[in-house]
């Protein structure tokens, strides 16, 4: 009584198995790429990394040795400027969208934030150049930090809004019913309840801009030496990697690998940290 498999059924089963196996192969390839990237970078980076890399200035072409201490500090400074400008705008703007906004205006803000998020980073660089570099007549850490903050704001804004909205209204109502003002409710009840999520968004924002090169090319430019002031051209790790990797010198290539490893390490660690903060937050709330 068991029906024998006809040719057609066999064909369908074969197709089923082949296609399903192929999707597995696709997954394998994509995940393998990550490991290949990490592998190459760690292999070449570790061989090139030494203590000088963190403490010395870059040497001129042809000389061996030296480091990128100024670029590491410069990256830190531009990211710090970006945080100082970007975090308040993203955080407070997000509070407005989630807690105060009506209907039409928040929709506009939300839409433009998504728009800003999609603007190619090189175009952000042009914008920062027109509004800061041109009036100041100099490339500067300020211009670089401003450009990076523009890339950070949409992420902070939307994630703050998202996590504030996830807070149940009963919490707000309970606080208001006890006589707290709206501002007090937001500051002492709603924001603390959503703090893990908000923090995650802000850390992800930092992780995103830390590796950005294109907005810095003609805002903070580059510098072979220490920058004394925020109004001077400033070296950053991503721009250094670009300059060193496209140069014809072997020792500069070595430095580029080391810088790449340091930068990728920073970006991946901040990313993973952000996710850990979030997962801890959700488990705490559930418990």
């Amino acid at each position: 009584m068991v029906p024998t498999l006809t040719g057609r059924t066999r064909r369908r089963n074969l197709l089923n198995n082949v296609m399903l196996a192929l999707t597995g192969v696709c997954t394998f390839i994509t995940v393998a790429v990550l490991f290949v990237i990490l592998g190459f970078l760690v292999w070449n980076g570790f061989r090139s990394l030494d203590w000088n890399f963190f403490t010395k200035l870059p040497l001129s072409a042809g000389e061996t040795g030296g480091g990128l201490a100024n670029a590491i500090v410069g990256s830190g400074i531009t990211i710090l400027i970006a945080v100082v400008i970007g975090v308040p705008v993203g955080f407070l703007g997000g509070i407005y969208l989630a807690e105060f906004g009506g209907k039409t205006f928040p929709m506009f803000v939300r839409y433009t934030a998504d728009l800003l998020n999609g603007v190619p980073s090189i175009v952000i660089g042009i914008f920062a150049w027109t509004v800061i570099v041109v009036p100041m007549h100099t490339f500067s850490a300020w211009a670089g930090g401003f450009a990076l903050s523009l890339m950070m704001i949409p992420i902070g804004l939307r994630s703050t809004e998202h996590f504030l909205r996830a807070i149940p209204n009963s919490l707000r109502e309970a606080s208001l019913a006890l006589g707290a003002t709206k501002t007090r409710t937001i500051l002492t009840v709603v924001v603390p309840a959503a703090r893990q999520g908000i923090l995650t968004g802000l850390i992800l924002g930092v992780a995103r801009v830390a590796g950005e090169t294109a907005p810095l090319l003609f805002t903070s430019l580059n510098n072979q030496f220490w920058s004394d002031k925020l109004t001077e051209p400033t070296a950053t790790l991503p721009v250094m990697i670009y300059k060193l990797a496209t140069s014809p010198y072997d020792d500069w290539h070595r430095q580029a690998w080391a810088a790449g490893l340091v930068l990728l390490g920073f970006v991946l660690i901040t990313n993973i940290a952000a996710r850990l903060v979030l997962s801890r937050g959700t488990s705490v709330q559930r418990g």
Binding site: N13, N16, M19, L20, T23, V25, C26, T27, T30, V31, V33, L34, I37, F40, L41, N44, V89, L92, G93, I95, Y96, L97, E99, F100, P106, V109, T112, D114, L115, L116, V119, P120, I122, V123, G125, I126, W129, T130, V131, P154, T181, K182, R184, I186, A210, T213, A214, L217, F218, L221, P238, I241, Y242, A245, A256, W257, G260, L263, V267, N271
Partner: protein, 324 residues
């Protein structure tokens, strides 16, 4: 008494406004409103600045800017065609490679893989999205480019070299290298968003197809994927927008040649790459204006793509919630 009643009304209103301001509600509303509005204003200002700073080039070349192919800074002749061509070609090449791979992986992760494996793989793939583009460029220069010039491109020339697509010296740098790097950079987006929209397909759809005797693949390909198609298309649009605007990785491997070639092995140029390379050296208002206008063109293309992607993704999520 009567006069007191008439005089009274403005009093409570004023007091309550002051009180609300002192309690901070009005003030908080105002402050957060200013910050939210600044996001809107900055974006508008960005468009305005691009428009103003490209005025010299727009006045001189008009719409012809988009359709002429000479790029000669010395003679002050600027045409955007080689860059538009390079941008579109490399992005198209990237999607040609990444769409089948990424959609296949998304199907595996949503339909076949056990949840734990699926989540781990998705986590890894999303980390791939976080790798800075300059690092993709660094790796491509020292691994992909030598590989292509030694093995990949000679192989292509020997097998399909009769096609005009694969003519020219195997330099390594060129459209092909840029397309490959962009493919790797775009598939995290397609995988993670497509997987989400595939997971959003109700389980009943799969069960109904399987109950009718469909194989797992038939149920997936003929029922689940069409159900999630808007989300998948949306993810492809997002990936395309990302590929078009990608700067560093492409700049480092495309070879920087402002002319149009049919062969994928030849060096070319993209909009983002030419801005990155020439902006700081651009002397003269016209040269700078032309580069800013290229930025404006790039901005408009990516904005349109992003907006349509968001509409598509929104449409799928709306559809999903209605059926629940």
């Amino acid at each position: 008494m009567g006069t007191a009643v008439i005089a009274a009304p403005p009093q409570p209103a004023a007091r309550s406004f002051l009180k609300r301001l002192r309690d901070g509600d009005k003030a908080a509303h105002l402050i957060t409103l200013i910050f939210a509005a600044s996001v809107f204003l900055v974006t508008v200002f960005l468009v305005y600045e691009l428009w103003i700073h490209s005025s010299t080039s727009r006045a001189k070349f008009g719409l012809g800017f988009l359709f002429t192919s000479s790029w000669d800074p010395v003679a002050e002749k600027f045409g955007a065609l080689p860059f538009i061509y390079g941008t579109v070609l490399t992005s198209f090449l990237a999607l040609l490679i990444s769409v089948p791979l990424a959609v296949g992986a998304a199907i595996f992760l949503s339909e076949l893989a056990p949840p734990k494996l699926s989540n781990t793989c998705t986590f890894l793939v999303e980390l791939l999205a976080a790798v800075p583009s300059v690092i993709y460029g660094l790796l491509a220069i020292f691994t992909l480019v030598p590989f292509l010039s030694k093995y990949g491109e000679p192989f292509l020339k020997n097998t399909v070299g009769f096609l005009p697509l694969f003519k020219g010296a195997p330099l390594g740098y060129g459209y092909l290298a840029a397309g490959l790097v962009l493919a790797i950079m775009t598939f995290p987006f397609i995988i993670s968003i497509s997987r989400e929209s595939l997971l959003a397909v109700p389980i009943e759809q799969r069960e109904a197809a399987l109950a009718l005797g469909a194989t797992k693949w038939e149920s997936t390909w003929q029922v689940v994927v069409p159900h999630a198609r808007l989300g998948i298309i949306g993810s492809i649009f997002l990936a395309l927008a990302r590929a078009l605007g990608e700067t560093m990785a492409v700049t480092m491997v495309i070879g920087n040649d402002p002319s149009i070639h049919a062969s994928l092995l030849k060096p070319g140029y993209t909009i983002a790459a030419v801005i990155a390379n020439e902006f700081t050296e651009a002397t003269g208002d016209l040269y700078q204006g032309a580069l800013v206008e290229l930025g404006l063109v790039l901005f408009l293309i990516t904005i349109i793509l992003n907006a349509s992607a968001q509409l598509l993704i929104l449409a799928t999520t709306k559809k999903g919630s209605k059926q629940d």
